[in-house]
C-alpha cells in the first residue's frame, strides 16, 4: 500500500493516535521516511496533543460537590430554564415595587380605618354619656331607653361586640 502526500497528511492524526489498521500504519510510516513536510506536520500534531494532555485537571469547587451529592436540593434545570438577566431584573424590580407600595399605603389605609372606627365609638360614647347625664330618670327617658333597645337589638342580631359594651 502506497499513499500519496495528500492522503498521508490526512492520516497523520489517526497515525499519531494508533487508530489506523496495520496496512495504513505501514504506509504512513513509509511516507514519513520520504516526506519532510509530513514529518514536520506530524511533530507539530504530536506537540499539540501533548500540550492538551498536559492541561491540569480542573478542580471542581465545593459548591459543585454539594449540589451533585444532594441533587434533590439543587435547583432543577439551571441551564435549560435559566431566564435572561434582563427578565430576571424586571421580575425583581416589580417585586420590589409591590413591596414598597404596600409599605407606603398600609399606614394610610390603616389610619383611615382607625379614624373611622374611633369616630364611631367616639360619637356613640358621647351620645350615651350625654343621654345618661341629661336624663334625670333614666328608665322613663325615651332617649336612654332607645339607646338600651338599640344595644339589645345588636346583641340579638349576633354582634359579638355590641356597641354598648364600652358603656356597661
Amino acid at each position: 500500500m502506497t499513499l500519496n502526500h495528500a492522503r498521508a497528511s490526512r492520516l497523520l492524526s489517526a497515525y499519531l493516535d494508533r487508530e489506523l489498521d496495520a496496512a495504513e500504519t505501514a504506509a504512513v510510516q513509509e511516507h514519513l521516511l520520504d516526506c519532510a513536510v509530513c514529518r514536520d506536520a506530524y511533530d507539530r500534531l504530536r506537540a499539540t496533543k501533548a500540550l492538551l494532555g498536559e492541561l491540569p485537571v480542573a478542580e471542581p469547587p465545593a459548591e459543585f460537590w454539594a449540589a451533585v451529592r444532594t441533587p434533590q436540593r439543587a435547583r432543577p434545570a439551571t441551564v435549560a430554564v435559566r431566564r435572561p438577566v434582563f427578565g430576571r431584573r424586571v421580575v425583581w424590580a416589580s417585586a420590589a415595587a409591590i413591596v414598597a407600595l404596600a409599605l407606603a399605603t398600609t399606614p394610610l389605609v390603616k389610619g383611615t380605618i382607625d379614624r373611622l372606627h374611633a369616630s364611631e365609638i367616639g360619637v356613640d360614647l358621647y351620645v350615651r354619656q350625654h343621654a345618661q347625664a341629661m336624663s334625670a330618670e333614666p328608665f322613663v327617658d325615651r332617649a336612654y331607653l332607645g339607646l338600651m333597645t338599640g344595644d339589645a337589638d345588636l346583641v340579638l342580631s349576633g354582634d359579638a361586640t355590641p356597641a354598648g359594651a364600652a358603656a356597661r
Partner: protein
C-alpha cells in the same frame, strides 16, 4: 466507555415528579458521582472555559442521572451518556448567549466578495511567557474556545480525557470517520494558533 447506556433516554425527565429512593439506590447514585463527576466537570470546564458554566452544565448532567436513576442499569457505563448531555447542554448554552460569543472564530467570515478565514494574532506576546505554565494553560483554554463546538468536543474527549475514536463516536453519535476528520482538523487549527507553544514543546523533546 464501552457499550452505550441505552437504558436511559435523553429526554428530559419529569421535573415535577418527586423522587424518593431507597438507601441502595442512593448508594448507587453516590458511586456514579464518585466515578464520573471529576471527569464530567473537567470536560465541561474545558468546553466552556469558565467555572460557573462548567458547574451549571455538569450539575445539570448529574441531576438528569439522579432523576433517571431507576432506569440506569447497575454498572452500565455512563460516560457516553454524560458527555452527550454535556455536549447538548453546551450547544444550548451557546445558542442562548449573545451572538458575539456564539460565533466561532474558525468559521469563515462571510462577506459580499466571498468567504475569508480569520487571521489569529500570535498568542505568544513574549518569549519568556512561554515557560509560564499558568499562562500557557490559559492560552490553550482560550484557543480551545475559538474552535467550533463540534471540533472542541472531539479534541477535548480525545486529547484531554484520552478516549478512543470509537468511544467518542459512540458518545457523540457520529460516524468514526467524522471523529477522525474533526480531530485532525481541530489539531491542525490548534497547532497553527498555538504556534510558538508548539515549537517550544518540540524543542523540549529535542533537548
Amino acid at each position: 466507555m464501552g457499550r452505550p447506556a441505552a437504558v436511559v433516554s435523553m429526554a428530559r425527565p419529569n421535573a415535577s415528579q418527586p423522587v424518593s429512593y431507597t438507601t441502595e439506590e442512593l448508594a448507587r447514585y453516590d458511586a456514579i458521582v464518585q466515578r464520573y463527576a471529576r471527569h464530567v466537570y473537567n470536560v465541561a470546564y474545558r468546553m466552556t472555559g469558565n467555572e460557573a458554566d462548567a458547574r451549571d452544565l455538569s450539575q445539570e448532567a448529574f441531576l438528569r442521572v439522579y432523576r433517571a436513576l431507576r432506569r440506569v442499569e447497575p454498572d452500565a457505563p455512563l460516560e457516553s451518556w454524560l458527555y452527550r448531555i454535556v455536549s447538548n447542554l453546551h450547544i444550548d448554552l451557546l445558542r442562548k448567549r449573545p451572538r458575539g460569543r456564539v460565533e466561532s472564530l474558525d468559521a469563515p467570515v462571510e462577506t459580499p466578495r466571498g468567504e475569508f478565514l480569520r487571521e489569529m494574532p500570535d498568542p505568544a506576546s513574549s518569549p519568556e511567557a512561554i515557560i509560564e505554565r499558568e499562562q500557557l494553560d490559559a492560552t490553550i483554554q482560550r484557543v480551545l474556545g475559538t474552535l467550533s463546538e463540534d471540533l472542541r468536543m472531539v479534541v477535548v474527549l480525545s486529547d484531554v480525557e484520552g478516549y478512543s475514536y470509537e468511544e467518542i463516536a459512540m458518545s457523540l453519535r457520529v460516524p468514526l470517520g467524522t471523529v477522525k476528520s474533526r480531530l485532525h482538523r481541530a489539531r491542525q487549527i490548534l497547532q497553527q494558533r498555538l504556534g510558538p507553544y508548539v515549537d517550544a514543546r518540540r524543542r523540549g523533546w529535542e533537548r
